[in-house]
Symmetry: C2
Amino acid sequence: MAQRNALYAQSGGVTAVINATACGVIETARRHRARIRKVYAGRDGIIGVLTEHLIDTSRETPAAIRALRYTPAGAFGSCRYKLKGLEESRAQYERLIAVFRAHDIGYFFYNGGNDSADTAWKVSQLAGRLGYPLVCIGIPKTVDNDLVGTDNCPGFGSVAKYVATSMREAGYDVASMARTSTKVFVLEVMGRHAGWITAACGLAAEKAGDAPHILLFPEVAFEPEPFLARVEATVKKHGFCAIAVSEGLRYPDGKFLSESGVRDAFGHAQLGGAAPRIASLVRNRFDYRCHWAVADYLQRAARHLASRVDVEQAYAVGKAAVELAVTGRNAVMPVIVRKSNRPYRWTIGVAELEDIANREKKVPRDFITRDGFRITAKCREYLAPLIQGEDPPPFRNGLPVYAKLRNVTAPRKLAGEFKI
Amino acid sequence: MAQRNALYAQSGGVTAVINATACGVIETARRHRARIRKVYAGRDGIIGVLTEHLIDTSRETPAAIRALRYTPAGAFGSCRYKLKGLEESRAQYERLIAVFRAHDIGYFFYNGGNDSADTAWKVSQLAGRLGYPLVCIGIPKTVDNDLVGTDNCPGFGSVAKYVATSMREAGYDVASMARTSTKVFVLEVMGRHAGWITAACGLAAEKAGDAPHILLFPEVAFEPEPFLARVEATVKKHGFCAIAVSEGLRYPDGKFLSESGVRDAFGHAQLGGAAPRIASLVRNRFDYRCHWAVADYLQRAARHLASRVDVEQAYAVGKAAVELAVTGRNAVMPVIVRKSNRPYRWTIGVAELEDIANREKKVPRDFITRDGFRITAKCREYLAPLIQGEDPPPFRNGLPVYAKLRNVTAPRKLAGEFKI
């Protein structure tokens, strides 16, 4: 088979380890020169492909690419831009193929969540219909851990480690002053529809009385009265109460606690502010001093506290994507398969993109205790391996040193602008 | 001189390294058995002394005490309880001396901020007046870095390292998605009246364009218009704008942006919510997507990312406090003296408690740029050494392992309860 170029694009919210996946893709492609000439990266994800802003990663040194392994966020830029159905967004899909054709792209690697798996699958369908020879590979990424077909998603383990560590540390803080000062602490975490990150906070509690005492999952409709009763009982029993709340917590009528009215390009409500709402509820009922934190981007950017397992898996799916591509597998995604829990062993498997596209894996009911406020032993068994090990970045002058690439744009080959 | 007991108490908000100071006090006292029999610790700080809840630290193993060096928060509990003037709070001061007498306390180590330096000084005065032989030593601690008489305060370096790292990481995140998504990010940090932590966020920016772009100090009255103009100019120039805001930011009329009406025991307003206010201001003016985080206790509990310099200094002031005490120095505080910047060298000096009590060190005007939005080179030179070096705690199962002491209470010797 001929030597052709590859295109890699990041999609959606970035993570502490998505660049480790990019590192895996590029380093592995460089070892398959007979098949892959250059790896281009979409500037700001798929938008850069549509507008023909392609970054030529061959202009980066091996050291720069290696540094991606410990650099958070998206080195080439990412975007929240969802292509719709093949008919509805026909012009966009055809434009993608036109750009691929112009740059002799034979391999398309799309690194994202379930929306991106859908896009990658549709591109593969259209390429087939148009007779354009193209291998499309999805690569899993999402802090939300909500992709089906994979045991877990790269990006999740590191945010899980961060929120569990932060909850443990804040729990020590509150415990030491609760008898005379703050008694209730609320930490708001990400996870719009799936409570995996909320669940991960629960890893901080190893013994009865440890923080956190209450988890508020997006999967469990929020009823103020049982919640407030549990807060009071916890303060009476343990002296303080530490709570983790999902940004996506909803009332039984489906309304978000934190609804702001703003929606993103995927039509998802832009959330933030569940923690202060919960704190207000507690303050209005009890005479408890209350503090709250909103981790927001800190949690998904915290490469300084990445999970080593997560970094290794993020790299491995990037590497596997290239290996699948050069063997001609199309419309698939490398996924993580759990082989055993003790010791934790995993391997890379392969799933069909069509089976992953647009589906969402929520926290199963048997991972949440009957009262809705804790994780079960089964959940803990699932989560615990994913936060194992540390992989600190290099530090200079007391701060982590992260890579900044040159990001040289490839010469454009198509005439005119494409409006998106 | 006879062998007598010592009393150690933590005061006010806890930090990532105040237990390293406790470790320094206890380990050093154990090396001075000829002078110091036992170290008691006040359960929940000074309140435990008033109520005669003294923890007998001799019941802890050397390994447990050693583990305090890497354990955040207050191992014996702390409190926000301020003794007033000697006449006004006469009963409390006399009670302290009565408890000291009952337990043969010859050394009082009070580990806190400027309020605590004041209390320690007053106790030394009263003991003198009553003819009770007592050595009173203040030990500096505060994340706010607002103590006079010391170059910097143990506790500050670690929170500075945490906020600068977090700002750098979130900056990478926002930069990678700003062209199509979030353009403005706001991080709220602690520092009620002094903007040292806000200033520390500025360490994350090493080159033009790096996050953060705007710092909002409590020392600089907040004027919305120049701020909004700077946000717009920054987004136009760099594509995004990262902002650090002090919880204590005020309008020119002195009103806090985040005033909640709740006050703590020291009469300070309990703050929180400057970040969402700033985000709302930006959203209401511009069509910029905006995210915000409130670090709250996460920042002062983040022992996983402690500054090694800070840990060493925290231990050193504890050790020095005991060494000063056994040589008979009274009513003093060991302080940190900077010897040089490059390389950073420091030593322990001694200050009079009377000179430290109730004073506050704000960020000097020449540490802030003329426009009020950045730190100067002089400020950077001061701050940079304080975040140097890492000192990670041990990890087990992917999470940091922190000490929990037995905290055995000493038998009470006084009859009746003391109401506080």
